[in-house]
Amino acid sequence: MLSFENVGMRYGVGPEVLRDISFKLAPGSFHFLTGSSGAGKTTLLKLMYLALRPTRGLVHVFDQDVSITPRTELPELRQKIGVVFQDFRLINHLTAVENVALPLRVGGARQSEIDSHVRELLSWVGLGERLDARPSTLSGGQQQRVAIARAVINRPKLLLADEPTGNVDDRIAVRLMYLFEELNKTGTTVVIATHNNALVEKFGHPVLRLDDGELTIRRKSDARGPM
C-alpha cells in the first residue's frame, strides 16, 4: 500500500527535516502519527499524499514508485488519497455541500451520485442542517467536520488526517474516530496525525512516532503504554 525506504527530506539547502524514514503500511491498516510540534509530521504526510517528492530514498504509493511515475499518472493516485488538513482548507465561496462534493467532481462523478452521497454524509457528521452554509458561517468544529467529510466522500484507499480532532470536543472527536474506523473496516488505510494521547490510547492502533525527524514504530500492544 505505502512504503518508505531510507527517505530523507530537506527544504532547499536547509537541514534535513526527515532522516532515514523507513516503514510500510499494509492495506487496511490503521496508524496514528505522533510527535512534538516541528517533528516533521506534516512533511511526512505531504510526502504520503504526493505534495512533495523526497530529496532521497524511495516512496512507493499503491505499489508505485512515485519517483518514476509519470506526472500524468499522479492525479489518478491522488484521487485514491483522502486528506484532512490541519487548517481545513475549505473553499470559502462554496457551500458545505459544494466543498464536500469537490473530490467527486474532480473524479468525474455524476451529479445525481454527488447529490445523494454528499447530503447523506454531511447529515451523518451532524451537519444536515447546514448543508448550504458557507465555511465562514460555520464554527471551527463544523468546518473540521466538513473537511473530514470532503476527505472521505469518495471512499479513498488511503486516508491521511492532520490533527482531525483538534478543534472538536471529546464527544465529536470520538464520533469522528468511529467514522475513521468504519472507513478502515471497509478497507481504507488510515493514518491520523495527532497530539491527543488520550485518543491514541483509547483506540489503541499502532503508532508512528516522529522525534526530531526520525521515526520509530510502536506496535499495537505498545501503543497503550506511555508515549
Partner: protein, 291 residues
C-alpha cells in the same frame, strides 16, 4: 442541482480580471478598424488591377487628331492579334475625365484634348506597347500608347505595402492581447494558488483546472470582443456615410463588401480564441511545475 456556478475558483472576486474585457474591447476595436482598412485597400487594388490590366489607351495629339486618323488607327487595332475590343472615346467623355483635375471652366474653355482609343486586350494575350506604338506611328506619327503599367505598378506597390502594414499592426495588436491575457492569468493563478493547490492534491488533472481559467477567459474576452466590435462597426458605418459624399473619379469605391463585413467578425472571434488558448497554455505551463 447542487452547482449553480461553473467554477471552483472565485473569479468574480478576482480584481485582476476586471480590466481584461476593456483591454480586449480596445484591441478588438483597433483590430476591426485595421482589418477593415486592409480589406478596403485590398478591394481597391483589385479593382484598379482588374480595371486597368488588360487595357491600353492610344492617345492621338490634338494637332494631328481628326476623325479619319482615329478611324484608321481603330481599324488597324481591330485587326491586331490579341485585341478583343476597340472603342473610340468620345471627345465629351475624354474632357469629362479631366474635370476632376482641372475644373469644368478650364476644360470647357477650348483646352486641347487628345483623341483617345481604348483597347481591350483578349484574356491571356500579350501585346508589347512599344512594338504596337511603332506600328501605329507608321500611320499617324506622334501618337503614344499607354498600358498604365508605370503608375499602376507604383500605386499597387504602395497599396500592398499599406495592406502589409495593416496586417502587421493587427499582429501587434494580437501580441498585446496575448501579453495582457498572460499577465491576467498569471495574476489569477497567484490569487487562487491555495485553491489550485487543493484541487491538485485532490487529483484534479491540469486540464480540469486549465478549463476553468479557459472558460473565464472566454467569458471576459467575449464581453470585450462584442463591445469592441460594436464600437468599431459604428465608426465604420459613420466613415461609410461620410465617404458616400466624396466624388473622386480617380478613387475606387472605399466601402466594404457584405463578405468584408462578415470577415470583420474574424477579429472578435480571433480575440476570444486567442484569449482562451493563451489562458489555457499559461495555466498548463504553470501547473507543469507542480509536483
Amino acid at each position: 442541482m447542487i452547482f449553480k456556478r461553473h467554477s471552483d475558483l472565485p473569479f468574480e472576486r478576482d480584481q485582476s480580471t476586471r480590466f481584461l474585457p476593456w483591454i480586449v474591447a480596445l484591441m478588438v476595436f483597433l483590430g476591426v478598424l485595421m482589418f477593415a482598412a486592409a480589406l478596403v485597400v485590398s478591394d481597391a487594388v483589385d479593382t484598379w488591377d482588374s480595371t486597368l490590366t488588360g487595357r491600353m489607351t492610344v492617345q492621338i495629339p490634338e494637332r494631328v487628331a481628326n476623325p479619319e486618323n482615329t478611324r484608321s488607327l481603330a481599324g488597324l487595332l481591330q485587326a491586331t492579334a490579341g485585341v478583343e475590343d476597340v472603342r473610340i472615346v468620345p471627345d465629351g467623355e475624354a474632357r469629362a475625365l479631366l474635370i476632376p483635375w482641372l475644373g469644368k471652366e478650364i476644360v470647357a474653355s477650348g483646352l486641347p484634348v487628345p483623341a483617345l482609343i481604348d483597347i481591350k486586350i483578349a484574356p491571356g494575350a500579350r501585346i508589347d506597347p512599344v512594338l504596337l506604338r511603332a506600328r501605329l506611328a507608321e500611320t499617324v506619327p506622334d501618337i503614344t500608347v499607354d498600358d498604365h503599367r508605370n503608375w499602376l505598378s507604383a500605386l499597387i506597390t504602395l497599396a500592398r505595402t499599406a495592406e502589409i502594414l495593416a496586417f502587421a499592426i493587427l499582429a501587434l495588436i494580437a501580441s498585446a492581447a496575448i501579453i495582457a491575457v498572460i499577465f491576467t492569468t498569471r495574476s489569477g493563478l497567484a490569487v487562487h494558488s491555495a485553491i489550485i493547490e487543493l484541487l491538485h492534491q485532490m487529483g484534479a488533472r491540469d486540464t480540469y483546472i486549465a478549463s476553468q481559467f479557459q472558460l473565464q477567459a472566454l467569458m471576459l474576452a467575449l464581453r470585450g470582443g462584442i463591445a469592441g466590435a460594436l464600437s468599431a462597426t459604428i465608426v465604420l458605418l459613420i466613415f461609410g456615410w461620410i465617404g458616400q459624399g466624396i466624388e473622386a473619379a480617380f478613387l475606387p469605391k472605399l466601402s466594404l463588401s457584405p463578405l468584408g463585413w462578415l470577415a470583420l467578425l474574424l477579429v472578435p472571434a480571433g480575440a476570444v480564441l486567442i484569449a482562451m488558448l493563451t489562458a489555457r497554455m499559461t495555466v498548463l505551463r504553470a501547473l507543469a511545475r507542480m509536483p
